[in-house]
């Protein structure tokens, strides 16, 4: 098969699955009105699939900070920090993140995807082992590939399976990097962190936790699962993203290991890409302040989470195992998922449709994510619409 034939095969597979005229992936958004509302075609819609957990994309402080940064420092850095230097904002944001986590150091990356690529490939190399949760995000898989280390998966959220695999590795468990996520992006379940930490200590391995979906969402000050479980000082490296609860784009890694700083000299996804723009850094700094103080936002977020989760449960939709800002309805066939997705959109609710192979266990998902700034009217409309669509979807 030629290079281009392979892409034709992809197009054919997509066409077989999805009806003509429905732009399911990358739906065009014509106008954005607020962190929860926009226009698709001629319809005003509610965003219920973004990862805007605290609704900060439209926070006045963040927008003002970004504008001010563009005025004073320009639109871009046009190069990597290695070659073109670190702006004041880059350094300040790293200090602020380190202080937030009470950690020795932080490195900021251009995206969350690159934070995982850079951290994993900087820590592990040929001859080492990465032991990753089977449901890990693509950025973790790709980081592992880039590292050249041996990649072994453990069963999703199963510390006993993790332990078994470490035992088999013998002495090599010392050069093993274990990777888990605070909240898993597809089904919204948390990692069993206390048990994972116990196993990692017993085998002298190193643990990396990706708090992409849990930053701002879990813990009193929003540090994530490490704060909720009181295990901050037992995790070796934490990565995360600015693109979800912080409403921007970029990523970070924090750690107490002094070696973290050496990643700046060995990690290709840090060295060979342009650094975050001044506007991005400025809005993220403002958002981090709001996130830390956002006790009320988190209270509102979890109120919305519990409302929607229990409504959908009552309606007998199959859901992820625990309430979380990611609320996924699990459907047996792609056709059912597509029918639900379309039904929601026709009623002005835009969510994520996730089809195999991007889903755990080959299921199809209609993935909702809840925000602190969704109003009770909006949440009621969502609940009523799911109730109305039940019949059509499962007919």
């Amino acid at each position: 098969m030629s290079l281009l034939d392979k892409l034709d095969a992809v197009a054919a597979a997509r066409k077989a699955l999805l009806p003509e005229g429905v732009e399911v992936f990358g739906t065009p958004i014509e106008e954005v009105y607020s962190s929860t509302e926009a226009r698709i075609g001629d319809h005003r819609i509610l965003f219920l699939g973004t990862n805007n957990y605290l609704g900060l994309t439209f926070a006045q402080e963040c927008r003002d900070a970004a504008q001010e940064a563009i005025h004073s420092e320009g639109t871009g850095t046009t190069g990597s920090r290695m070659a073109n230097g670190s702006y004041r904002g880059h350094r300040a944001l790293e200090r602020e993140f380190a202080e937030f986590y009470q950690c020795r150091s932080c490195i900021v990356f251009t995206t969350g995807y690159q934070a995982n690529l850079a951290t994993i490939s900087g820590l592990a190399g040929p001859g080492d082992i990465v032991l990753i949760d089977g449901d890990s995000h693509a950025s973790i898989y790709d980081g592992c590939r880039l590292s050249g280390a041996e990649i072994i998966r453990f069963k999703h959220n199963d510390p006993a399976d993790l332990e078994k695999r470490l035992r088999r590795l013998g002495e090599r468990s010392r050069s093993t990097l274990i990777i888990a996520e605070g909240i898993y992006s597809m089904l919204g379940d948390r990692a069993p962190l206390a048990d994972i930490v116990k196993v990692k200590d017993a085998y002298n391995s190193t643990l990396l936790l990706d708090e992409a979906h849990s930053l701002g969402v879990l813990g009193e000050t929003g540090q994530g699962l490490v704060e909720e479980t009181g295990l901050l000082d037992r995790v070796d490296f934490i990565t995360g993203t600015f693109s979800k609860s912080l409403g921007g784009i970029g990523g970070y890694c924090v750690s107490n290991h002094p070696q973290l700083d050496q990643l700046r000299y060995v990690s290709r996804p840090y060295i060979f890409t342009a650094s975050p723009t001044p506007a991005t850094i400025a809005s993220t700094r403002a958002a981090l302040r709001l996130l830390r103080e956002g006790v009320e936002l988190r209270r509102q977020l979890w109120k919305n989470v519990h409302q929607l989760y229990s409504q959908l449960k009552e309606l007998d939709y199959r859901l992820g195992p625990e309430p979380s800002p990611v609320i996924a309805t699990i459907l047996e066939t792609p056709q059912q998922a597509l029918a639900l997705w379309k039904g929601l959109l026709e009623n002005g609710i835009y969510v994520n449709l996730v089809l195999p192979p991007a889903t755990p266990e080959g299921n199809s998902l209609v993935r909702c994510s809840v925000s602190a700034v969704h109003t009770s009217e909006q949440m009621n409309h969502v609940g009523k619409t799911f109730a109305r669509l039940r019949e059509t979807v499962f007919q």
Binding site: G134, I152, R153
Partner: protein, 84 residues
Amino acid sequence: MLNDYNEVLQKLCHHLEQLVGPGVEITPQTDLINELAIDSVKLLNLIMEIEDEFDISVPINALADVQTVHELASLIHRIKAQEQ
């Protein structure tokens, strides 16, 4: 003996039959992707089952070189022998 190649092959074929259903002939030369339509996700799930059965861990990097049933059986056999 469990680490005997033929026994590995037999057990692997048993897993594959359950995965692809009856009526499909599986030989050592059968191509996993092109003939049995086992995509990357199915392959990873199959590997988890096999790992339990043989009490081994199969690094997913090693799967890049696996195309046929024979190649997968040899890989499992080799890892099993190394771990003993």
